[in-house]
């Protein structure tokens, strides 16, 4: 700036100078002056050039410094972002133990039946008027090593104990996107068979599941699940199992134990479609075949179709959703008296109308070939599959698990979940079997879960 002013003054002076000179001297001096002027001008230009260069250099240096400072800041921010090693607190020590995740879930139900001797379809349903212990489920779950995880669930009553599930799952990448489960597990047959009591929507178990699968179909076996490389989720499941000790008369071990063809084979195909962000649909088919224990070589074939649709608009009412779950089952059983055809279905619609509340309606029925009335003990020697009540040491077990004929049932329920870990459910049921009097039932169910936070299956 100052330099410029100096230059301007200089030039001004330069212009004035010759004028003054001209008045006093003419001739040679003029040439001299001209020369001097030229020299001066050249010097000036050189100075200006140098000045510009210096300014340029200065700017470059400043920019460089700024860049370096920024880079230093970035480096600093990045290095500061690396967390210090965590302090070993009391909690860390607790969390760091390699114990499995433990959970305990208790289900208690106050029940009122309008009948004296209501028909109980599934083992863990409430049995009679009064307060019932439905189930205490204890779970131990954890990762075994980089290759397997292990999940186990034990169902405990006042004086009963059942290993509900205890199986390992592979965690490694296997060819064909497959996953293997080994152990005692709820078989992938339909949908409700995979739902533990505490994650079901109603107090009682749907009739087709109770009658054809027992409380749950949980054989010991090896199961292969394949994830098909398709744009949508499609899972193929095939398992080979032993039917020993199942709670259902549908399948039983064959006396001809060395015959591989007579083990229990279960297949399932699951599809899942995300139709829109809010609407999902899963559609599956199942097939189970195995001997039924009536006579060597007699088998049961059980077919199932399952449907689950869920509508949950995320944007407007994030905690409102509606889901529909429905299954159809068809059982074909060979017996000495010819083939028996039994079928059943249920459909349940649940509406969650607030974050902690839901209400639902269920309709379920079974239709069996040969309606039979509850039998006397001595009649149990008949070879009809439906009348086989396996007994242990002469003690009658599950005398009502057989199939009894046509039966319809309706249920409505209202559920309140104070938190994710407790539940209160009120349910009314109307049961209309054609082999006995129809009756009403009202249930008030309480459910509590303690320990590890279980994830919610879809």
């Amino acid at each position: 700036m100052r330099i410029n002013r100096f230059i301007a003054l200089f030039f001004f002076g330069m212009f004035l100078f010759p004028l003054i000179i001209q008045k006093e001297a003419w001739g040679e001096e003029r040439d001299d002056i001209k020369k001097q002027m030229q020299e001066l001008r050249q010097q000036m230009e050189a100075m200006q050039k140098k000045l510009e260069e210096l300014e340029e250099k200065n700017r470059m240096l400043e920019e460089e410094a700024k860049k370096q400072k920024e880079e230093r800041e970035v480096e600093k921010a990045i290095t500061e972002a690396v967390p210090a090693p965590p302090r070993e607190g009391y909690l860390q020590r607790v969390i760091q133990s390699l114990n499995p995740d433990i959970s305990v879930i208790g289900i208690f139900t106050a029940a009122y039946f309008s009948e004296n001797d209501p028909i109980i379809h599934a083992e863990n349903d409430p049995e009679n008027t009064g307060i019932n212990l439905q189930e205490i489920e204890i779970g131990f779950q954890g990762v075994i090593d980089p290759y397997f995880r292990f999940d186990s669930f034990f169902s405990i009553g006042r004086d009963s104990f059942e290993t509900e599930e205890a199986y390992a799952t592979t965690l490694l990448s296997l060819p064909l996107n497959s996953q293997v489960r080994i152990g005692l597990m709820r078989a992938k047959f339909g949908r409700i068979n995979l739902q533990h009591r505490h994650s079901q929507d109603f107090v009682t178990l749907a009739l087709p599941a109770a009658d054809f699968l027992g409380e749950h179909l949980n054989p010991v076996g090896i199961e292969f699940n394949f994830l098909a490389p398709l744009p949508w989720f499609m899972e193929l499941t095939a398992s080979v199992n032993s039917a020993n000790g199942l709670e259902t008369p549908t399948f039983a071990p064959d006396e001809d134990a060395n015959n591989l063809g007579r083990l229990l084979y279960i297949f399932h195909l699951a599809n899942f479609f995300e139709i829109t962000e809010a609407l999902s649909l899963s559609l599956g088919g199942s097939f189970a075949t195995g001997s039924n224990g009536t006579e060597p070589g007699n088998r049961s074939n059980l077919y199932g179709v399952d449907l689950f649709a869920k509508y949950r608009p995320l944007k407007n009412n994030p905690y409102q959703e509606v889901w529909l779950q429905s299954e159809f089952m068809y059982l074909q059983a060979e017996s000495e008296e010819g083939d028996l055809d039994n079928w059943g279905a249920y459909a349940q619609l649940v509406y969650r109308f607030a974050k902690r509340w839901n209400a639902g309606f269920r309709f379920d029925f079974v239709d069996t070939d040969t309606p039979v009335t509850p039998m006397e003990e001595e009649e149990l020697e008949g070879s009809s599959l439906l009348r086989v009540m396996r007994s242990e040491e002469g003690e009658e077990e599950e005398s009502m698990l057989g199939l009894l004929g046509k039966e319809l049932r309706y249920a409505v329920m209202l559920t309140f979940n104070p938190t994710e870990f407790s539940r209160i459910r009120l349910q009314y049921e109307f049961d209309d079997p054609d082999f006995a009097d129809s009756f009403h039932a009202v249930f008030l169910q309480f459910q509590y879960s303690l320990g590890a936070h279980g994830a919610h299956p879809f």
Binding site: L91, P146, S173, P229, A455, H456, P457
Partner: protein, 330 residues
């Protein structure tokens, strides 16, 4: 006859299995040419990954930005996404405990099933200042607490830098040939974020000490950064909806405190916080807490921009209203 039928069905399944083999071979051939596939549990992590990975990665988020991250449906289609992922990034500190673990187990993908494999990034391990780490034994009478500390750390830009750095490290480990690319993008991201953070802090500076009442304990990190003071919560305990008597108590408690803002994410009920704000003489603000939590919020910068701008403009308006009413009164 019967065995024939059985054999037929077995044969059928065998054929199906063969079909699956053919398919998967085809699929793996295509895979060989692909970019690094990243799946983030939440959209904010997906956004930061995009900043670092650029066109060398393919990023997907499972949850939506306008969704409560505690309660996401574990859809089987997510299993498919995880099955094909090279890297899974999730928040950790039990935020996704209700839905993510079974998806990881079902993924059949050893790149992500082990907690310490390069493809499994629990982003909370990158954070050095986790707030509210319990120092005593916790139980659920405290509500739905997170034993590892408060999981909503991403709303503090310095944690954004930590996460970005962690993501860059993992990408370099998984895809070493593009290391310098990721480094360059990380530097660029941090530079822009630092500049923006200065801007945001300048904007927030005049409002240090502002008293606010959030719906859920999801704003602690933001308040910590902005210098706000949280004097109460709309929820009596995390995850427990407010009862009328609690709301009445809360209003009484905060009435004389000069609380300026009541804030809630869009997925929480709006009526109760709005009422509390009105009674306490505060303003009610619905704020996004994730990228994608509102229109035009597509990057981490957009998210913090939206939050800071909404908060400061609201506070500015309130100040002016007070001044003008004072003038009118005086």
């Amino acid at each position: 006859m019967k065995t024939q039928k059985f054999l037929q069905s077995l044969a059928l399944h065998f054929c199906l299995a063969l079909l699956v083999i053919a398919f998967s071979l085809f699929a793996s051939a295509i895979d060989a040419l692909a970019k690094v596939k990243v799946v983030a549990s939440l959209p904010t992590f997906a956004a930061i990954t995009k900043e670092i990975g650029g066109d060398k990665v393919e990023v997907e988020s499972l949850a939506k930005g306008y969704q409560d991250p505690h309660f996401v449906d574990a859809k089987p289609s997510y299993v498919l996404k995880l099955n094909r992922a090279d890297l899974l990034i999730y928040n950790g500190l039990d935020l996704e405990i209700g839905w993510l673990p079974p998806l990881i187990t079902g993924s059949r993908n050893s790149k992500i099933t082990s907690t310490n494999s390069p493809g499994n990034l629990n982003a909370s391990t990158l954070i050095s200042n986790i707030l509210e780490v319990p120092t005593m034994r916790v139980d659920r009478s405290m509500g739905d607490i997170h034993p590892g500390g408060n999981p909503h750390y991403i709303l503090d830009p310095k944690n954004g830098i930590a996460v970005a750095n962690g993501i860059a490290e993992r990408l370099k480990e998984i895809d070493p040939k593009n290391s310098s690319y990721y480094d360059q993008r990380l530097k660029d991201f941090v530079k822009r974020l630092n500049a923006k953070a200065k801007e945001w802090e300048e904007k927030l500076a005049p409002y240090k000490g502002t008293k606010i009442v959030p719906y859920h304990k999801s704003w602690n990190y933001f308040s910590d950064w902005a210098g706000f003071q949280e004097v109460g919560y709309v929820e009596p305990k995390p995850g427990i909806p407010p009862s009328p008597s609690y709301v009445a108590d809360l209003i009484r408690k905060i009435q004389g405190m000069n609380v300026k803002l009541v804030i809630a994410e869009s997925y929480y009920p709006q009526k109760v916080p709005a009422l509390i704000a009105q009674k306490a003489g505060a303003s009610f603000l619905v704020l996004p807490a994730q990228v994608g939590g509102g229109d035009g919020i597509n990057t981490y910068f957009d998210l913090l921009d939206a939050i800071v701008n909404d908060v400061t403009s609201k506070l500015e308006n309130m100040k002016q209203a007070v001044n003008s009413s004072n003038l009118a009164g005086g």
